[in-house]
Symmetry: C2
Subunit: 578 residues, 2 copies
Amino acid sequence: MIWSNYLIPTVKEIPADAEVPSHQLMIRAGLIRKLASGTYTYMTLGCRTVLKVIAIIREEMNAAGAQEIIMPIAQPFELWQQTGRSEDYGETLGRFKDRHGRWNVLAPTAEEVVTNLAAGEIKSYKQLPFNLYQINTKYRDEFRPRFGVIRSREFIMKDAYSFHATPESLQEGYQAMYDAYCRIFNRCGVEYIIVQAESGQMGGSGSHQFTVPCETGEDLIVYTEDGSYAANLQKAAADPLPKQALSSQAPPPQDVHTPNIGSIDAVCSFLKTKPQEMIKTLIYSAGDEMITVLVRGDHEVNQEKLTQTMEGKYIELADETTIRNVTGAATGFAGPVGIIEKIDKLLIDHAVANMAVGITGANKTDYHTRNIVPGRDFPLTGRKVVVTDLRNVVEGDTYNGKKLLFRHGIEVGQVFKLGAKYSNTLGARFLDEDGQEHPCLMGCYGIGIARIIASAIELHHDDDGIIWPISIAPFEVLIMSANQDDPEVTRVAEQLYRQLGSNNIEVLLDNRPERAGVKFKDADLIGIPVRVTVGRRGLAEGKIEIKLRRESDRQTIPIADAPQRIEAMVRQLYAELS
Amino acid sequence: MIWSNYLIPTVKEIPADAEVPSHQLMIRAGLIRKLASGTYTYMTLGCRTVLKVIAIIREEMNAAGAQEIIMPIAQPFELWQQTGRSEDYGETLGRFKDRHGRWNVLAPTAEEVVTNLAAGEIKSYKQLPFNLYQINTKYRDEFRPRFGVIRSREFIMKDAYSFHATPESLQEGYQAMYDAYCRIFNRCGVEYIIVQAESGQMGGSGSHQFTVPCETGEDLIVYTEDGSYAANLQKAAADPLPKQALSSQAPPPQDVHTPNIGSIDAVCSFLKTKPQEMIKTLIYSAGDEMITVLVRGDHEVNQEKLTQTMEGKYIELADETTIRNVTGAATGFAGPVGIIEKIDKLLIDHAVANMAVGITGANKTDYHTRNIVPGRDFPLTGRKVVVTDLRNVVEGDTYNGKKLLFRHGIEVGQVFKLGAKYSNTLGARFLDEDGQEHPCLMGCYGIGIARIIASAIELHHDDDGIIWPISIAPFEVLIMSANQDDPEVTRVAEQLYRQLGSNNIEVLLDNRPERAGVKFKDADLIGIPVRVTVGRRGLAEGKIEIKLRRESDRQTIPIADAPQRIEAMVRQLYAELS
């Protein structure tokens, strides 16, 4: 490709709304342009990288025996109602009414559609297993799209769905995808770690997340130093905190006046206590049920663990009116004493159950209560009570006695065992050898194409620009003519461009009539792995310069050796990724 | 690929809702499955064909110097308001409100987005010309989706947009696309004709349509036998009909009572006259303007010609209340006499202007008027009056004195010169060598991927199934084991499968434990161009059978010659398409 014929709009300025390096560099290198909040156009260079990532994914998915299909982006809303996910997804679910008044969902994922499809085709165990995948546009109406293509409203995803007759077959299919994912991320040149994950809204029974560790990532990974444990924050468990003992018998509960002081921090500072001495009381609704959740004042409720405890039901914080109805008090003054009568379920985090004594809201506006003893002043057992793990792990927690460490990362892929959740609801059943009917067991497997690209840039860049892994670089080689006004320079540059091209090397020829300084800066910015410079001075000695983007060394080599040397460099860069 | 590992759900029954062969065969051969009205999932075989068509298009677009990008499917509604097309598209435009209350359009095409993009990047004539294309999902909320993937709500389209500084450059870019389209359709194995077309809603200045002639096509092509003229129905012009002369002076207009008789046919039968003796009077609104259109009773208004006459404005038939306000009568009784006072424009088709005398509505409910003389009883000239071509051509019309012929077809692609319509409105301007600012001149170029596939099937099938052009067949070769229970048969079949595969031939191996009859039927149905049969009887003589899907001849050849012979057949089939 010849630079001057193409739109490669590099820019010097860092875009004001770009917080992370990948977002900044994707704009600056002319890979993407923003259309609206959370939607981006991939320009020529960006599109080339997208197509390369897609080609790698397609190869590995096919090699793993998966078969490609294309499902519509507009999905019937009724299917989502059948699985209940029309509720679970909340406002993130994009939807529209067509001209005949039917509601459609803009696919955020495709379990409903693929299970409905399978339900129509599967009759016998003989047809199983199979794995259907697509590489297609998804839409999620993120409340706050950000970090460029990392959290966007519209994105390209590879989503795969496998169907099985037995748990062993599901495990085999799951492992095949797990292995394919390792090969895909290796080939794309992104270093990743695999952590245990919750299956959350997917409603499954097991999951792993592929995460690229980097400072700017939104996801938190929790692990032990010896590598024996790694999970994402949603999944990570901690050893229970030790049961606290009191030195003497606790005095009876005592109300204190805390006028307009509802937040944990405000109460702590007013009563001169610490958050870990407090019990946070949260009121949720789950359909018709009212739920109360207790966590320690310094802990956060883990939404995934809460959802798991409630068996996948859609749970949301109650509104102010409901809170007032349940507690008889304004928001900020809820407490566990006596609340059991008014609710359907009391969910208590281990850490609260193990407190000796705590401070909590008094269920009376502007009042808190001291000296609350779990088990004495509110029940720890009973029909409505569940004591379990409900919180995010925090610094200081341990797992199997080992200290938990934290690391940021970008989730690039996830694999799930779904079990029979969708096939049961949507009727994807098969007859076994004995003519008995069973629901298929399913797995699902997602990869975010844009996130691979963004995390490759997060991992591989410097102050001057991107340093592409060769496998997903828009081009393998950049040839620059340093003196475009010199006919001999342009002649040699063009000849080399043609030579390499005829050997299937992907070359971008920068023949713009710009100063060499501008071209060098752009070359560093767009980050093509191998840079070849043809200049007047070198040519006088029959030589050109070659340089890897990731290294500062330059080599001056005879023109005659150039094609062979460059091809060897390209081959070597690929070899490092396999 | 091995049949028994994949989901290839062939069916015997013709689906009840499939009217045309391509729709029937795409369902029966397991290429697609319907999800909802106008949306289809491409199954494994269908997806392979889609990817092949896409690969051909991508190669030819790149070879023509176009550069690929990916634009979002969710487009800001404001851009469509700026060009006025939010109105022009009517209910066909899919739209949705996001969680922040902003309206989004589901891309039916991307002139607005690409011009907006170009406006942000183009500064100088030095950047021009360029051509940006994408292969991406489109949505059009068709009132009545039908013919399977031919008229669906959601579909994959290749859309390209070129930007130029001069009309000469636009012409060059337009011709490059025109030529690329010819190569694309040739390579895909669909015979096409190129006709002049209107640019309609696109608002451009010239257009050609690539149409595959076939009986079941929705589009009408109009042409002269000598090939000197070909246009689609929207564009086709006819020689004006001769001016009719009266034998004597026409008597004055005379009202006749036609109680509850409003339609042309009813009036004709009641008054014992013919449609060509009547003047049809139609009331339209175009924004604030009221328009009256006159065509002969046996003619149909051509919406494209009407739109052109109104300079691209969105025009719709007036509702009953408006008709009553303008004419003072119920629908069905409008007429041209005296109407000029009440409207903004009177558009008269040539054929009406050339009538000697006619019958028309009386602008009085339940009355028509005889003896209406154009020019005497309503004006043919004046500030508000336009006499022009406003109707569809019909059987019997001529062009340059040659008889017009009609043929059905499927539109598979169209190229447009847009001129400056979008660049003016959306600010895509450049500075010329003298520092003067001009709007870019644009072209746009579309291809429907699914329509190529459907029309290939319409052209190439027989009673037993599809006969794929090899270039877009899901596989090049099908190997069938006729006796799957015979280990020697399966061994030879598998060995040949591997041999051909290692030479990059795309082979499907039908190793299902089915009777040979079932396999032969499925082979004909899915239409792989080369069929290889390995059977017990042949093997006894060291032979296998090869057969082209399109021919009835079978050849029995020695096993040793098979790879070479099959590869030669494949090469020959490709050679026929280049």
